[in-house]
Symmetry: C3
Subunit: 468 residues, 3 copies
């Protein structure tokens, strides 16, 4: 029996199911556009084999290990490296065994769907992971990983990826991207400009980062003008490695439109290290506007990922650092927050700002009304916890009626779990097909229109939104 | 092929669909009660033909043109008049062509359903609007508009409208309503008392408006007592033109219960023009209570439309003015906000206050619990962005379990798009029939009960809520 | 015709319905675990007959009478006792008549489902309650109540209750629980430690309550150390009457982690009666952490019921007191609020803190991400207004994808309406079966997995979460 049901995510009623399946088939084999994500470019630069099943599926994926942790498994027992270099499990087979015996925890979650899809479609597994099957499945994956057909570039090609965007900090030298380009490999892997470390006064080492930015660009980043010029140079550098977008992971969507003098003074303040939380927020907000203005010049699409309360568990952050599954969303305002930016550049038809949220209440109340009015705005796909069947369903149901399909930006997998990329796009294509089929069978859309929209959602809108 | 599917909005599963259809048929031909909306009474006073298809469907309808604007069409190119009298498209055929070539943007939105319904059922169109069909459809509508059967009064009668309420400001002379009454026409068009311009200190020209209110009523509106007396007189005047309701479009649902002395002092303050945003909010809040008290005396139903952040795009507001599609909702609190008013009059069984929201999170958390307890409260139908299939579904699913059907207030079309009135009531009747059918087929309601409730939702509850 | 449909709450599509029914049948006869509720232990101590139908179904149940009140029935006419001992209806037949003639108000609500289920399955009624049937049904219930088979203990056994937890204040002498234990009856009725009256500075008589706590425990509750020691003693006393949990009904989920000195000073402040609302909130917050720490020692599961704005209608509170149907939810933050507590004890694998909410927006945004990461957290079932078919559906749809099934805590009926207990558990078992069937038929769960999960949701998870 296959691990994943052939008609998964289609509506149970027969007429709807048949139409959903037909719509899905019309897009299932389209190439994958992955315009935002966190794969490591080194994989494609070096093209070395992945080390072992645990290091592929468990250790780097906070979606996966936080679920085990939530039921009492200790992070160190899952091989998560400790900042203090205290003991952490080093035997990947023991990590895998702990994962396998708790695999039932994922029932009903998208992680189960993605993992089963990867196991089945990438590695040919046909048994459900459990304590009983742990060793056999480990051995099977381990054997495949030793095969050249399972190296990063081969998988990239087999997955049908037309373009994959990674995300690098402003100070990154893009050496792996350079190596990919110089290798002559035809796979299209591009970078994305993510300047949080030099934009957010609360980021660890902010002042040093800004100084490093100056050194890299030969600009005086102690002055507001030089600092902005340095950003412009880095953006151009990132563009030279294929970047078509910038990305901004701010705690809120707050924006500012300060005068040059006020912005310069604020910059000096935050650079001095002697600033309030309100000043930090204002500076991040001003920088969103500056980035939007630069986008007007250089054409980079701007992504705003707002609303995560990062590193919620102090002891986990102290012992294991960032991105450990303890980033928790909170209410996020967009209407007041974005007004300064939108008053300045929101009516620009050539600007593209893609908004993401972890606060689903904003979809129908704020984001769809905003995206359904301002030419500069597009609505990003469901993010993080909401990149799932129900999440996608709620997204479509709460946004389409207000902003339609064409103010949305296609799908992002936003993942660092490489093998899950086909699975995630598959879920998105199926869930959107199901939604379109529901619209048609309830008389809200014509069948021919649905067949036009389906490839836009799966492929076309992402290319448009990211200028690809 | 008809533009609209005969079984649209019914559930796909056959038993549910059959029951939904039967419920719908039992209410489809009931007269339309439109107790809240923004049609222009002048149409029915003068009964002149509508000028052309673009001026009927595009130019006055911010639901429609904002969607085109969101994808880069310029407002001036759609013929939206500019405040500065700068150039704006004057050829209705060119406006129509831009509308038609972007008609795909509306796919999946209620606007598409309303427009197609109007095209088909009012004008007999049988082709989907597009660049290709634009001219033919324009010509067909244009030809019909020249026919007497398509004048406002004839359409009013053909639409089966039993009552239509318009909305006029407190200073309006109701001349068009007078003309309707004096014309001897049998159509029932009534007004609604909307005093925002003389109640909201932030309204343009507030002090002058209050002075004009004094002149109109022969009351000293510079004094708190005289100001209240002037409201009472205007309410009586509006009642004499059929008004059974007042309407209040406040940024929040904030209410106050100040002493006479404090209220008088606050009134003097806001009248002076020297007031804070908090004082403006307090004054609006006090006036909600004053209006509720007057309702206890004169029996007008009170409508509170709270939570829109008006005129969000500063450049659009500067160039084109109000109601241009850039009113964006935000989070709206009702529980704390309404407490002063509810403590004062919430237990009055003869008072009717209808609450509307643009923040759907308030349905299950605040509005249904409030309406399910206080005798004075009724829950208004889904408003604005939520007057749609999914919006109505979510409204019923999140309110019925807590406040039932009988604490709701029937349907409002709330539109200035006259030809969409039958379409909107049709959507509401279908969506409610679908919901009732779902309750019955899942054993949550008896079939006979559903057939009793359906006409209440389509007709009866609106009459009760608005004392019609 | 039965009052309740045999396939109620199952999905209408045949394949889903068949599977839902099969899942339901696999759990329908499991014993009832009721780990949180408000039944009166006196019923089971004395085992006297219930006085009459109105005192069983209407007078004590604010779910029921608030709906009648919302449509203009006066509370006094429903026999609700007044604090001022003013006149209130004393004839239970008249109360019943008013209830019956308004029974249509409950259409579409869970109250209707629970009442019909109780009428049919407990009392053998086969007619719908209405003005016409009021007397006959009253007589039928009245006759049954006189029968020994309808006394509390007999019903308890007939309902298949394995364990019922009541909720008592910290000062309660647990005399009824003692009487139950000493009676030799085999029914398992346990208490729960609810210390709000001695923890919340805003509670009526807080200082006196704290003094009484000292008297009861022989501890100096005027000192912070003595006060904490007194709590420990009372918790031990409650444990000796079977308590496995504490319960905390706070207006918010705010927590604090103050130093011993700061906490002692704050305690002195709130005890003095001279404190601000912020200090009251801080003290309640500190006490949540103290209770969590005590739970680490004594193993009591901790329940946090946050977010109700109690006694919203001042005139109702003045005339009738607490718990009169006018407790209205509001937005509730968990992410910032719980951080101090979670930083201190959130990673403890042996601690169990169950979170409840009346703000459904928190499910997907805050509560599932928190419960899906912190080992100490479990997500409580839908509470109060959300203990219903749609409420349970939304709960599962918005939490499962992020935290799975095993971070949830089974079902609570949380009721003071004894006869509704089987009905409420039945609704929960049906709604969960429907959800599981939907997951299976859409390929998100294997059928065998669903049959494993169903009994956990109906029975197993509650036992685990409450250490039963």
């Amino acid at each position: 029996m296959p691990l994943t049901a052939p008609d998964r995510l289609f509506p149970p009623e027969q007429k709807q199911k048949d139409l959903a399946r037909a719509l899905y088939r019309s897009v299932a084999d389209l190439p994958i556009i992955s315009p935002h994500g966190h794969c490591d470019p080194r994989w494609f630069a070096e093209d070395r084999r992945f080390p072992n099943p645990s290091d592929l599926f468990v250790v780097p994926d906070h979606y996966v290990f936080r679920m085990l942790v939530s039921q009492g498994v200790r992070m160190a027992d899952l091989g998560i490296p400790r900042l203090d270099e205290g003991p952490s499990e080093t035997d990947p087979r023991k990590v895998w065994a702990r994962f396998a015996q708790n695999y039932h925890l994922f029932r009903g979650t998208p992680s189960a769907l993605w993992l089963d899809h990867s196991f089945e479609h990438v590695f040919g597994i046909d048994q459900v992971l459990s304590a009983d099957t742990a060793t056999a499945i480990y051995d099977q994956i381990e054997a495949k990983l030793a095969d050249d057909a399972f190296r990063p570039r081969a998988l990239f090609e087999r997955f049908g990826i037309e373009l994959l965007a990674t995300t690098e900090g402003a100070l990154d030298d893009l050496a792996w991207h350079r190596q990919i380009r110089e290798s002559g490999w035809s796979g299209r892997v591009v970078t994305t400009y993510r300047p949080d470390a030099v934009v957010d006064p609360d980021f660890e080492g902010f002042a040093a980062n800004v100084a490093a930015l100056g050194a890299l660009t030969d600009e005086d980043t102690q002055s507001w003008t030089g600092y902005l010029a340095a950003h412009r140079k880095r953006r151009a550098f990132f563009k030279s490695f294929g970047a078509t977008a910038s990305d901004h992971g701010h705690p809120s969507a707050h924006t500012e439109n300060l005068s040059h003098a006020d912005a310069a003074a604020l910059f000096a303040k935050v650079l001095s290290g002697d600033f309030t939380t309100i000043e930090a927020e204002a500076f991040r907000g001003q920088m969103l506007l500056e980035m939007a203005r630069m986008s007007l010049d250089d054409g980079l699409t701007m992504q705003i990922h707002a609303g995560s309360r990062r590193n919620h568990a102090a002891p986990v952050f102290a012992k294991f650092g960032r991105d450990m599954g303890f980033d928790i969303p909170g209410p996020t305002d967009y209407v007041v927050a974005l007004k300064p930016l939108l008053d300045a550049v929101g009516m620009e038809p050539d600007l593209k700002i893609i908004l993401f949220t972890l606060d689903e209440t904003a979809y129908s109340r704020e984001l769809a009304p905003l995206a359904g009015a301002y030419p500069a705005l597009r609505l990003g796909p469901p993010w993080w916890f909401f990149d799932s069947y129900e999440g996608i369903k709620r997204f479509r149901e709460t946004t389409t009626e207000t902003c339609g399909f064409y103010n949305t930006a296609g799908f992002n997998d936003d993942t660092r779990a490489f093998c899950s990329i086909p699975a995630r796009h598959d879920v998105s294509r199926r869930a959107d097909s199901a939604y379109l089929a529901t619209l048609v069978t309830t008389g809200r859309l014509r069948e021919a229109e649905a067949f036009e929209i389906a490839p836009d959602l799966a492929y076309g809108l992402a290319k448009t939104a990211y200028n690809l």
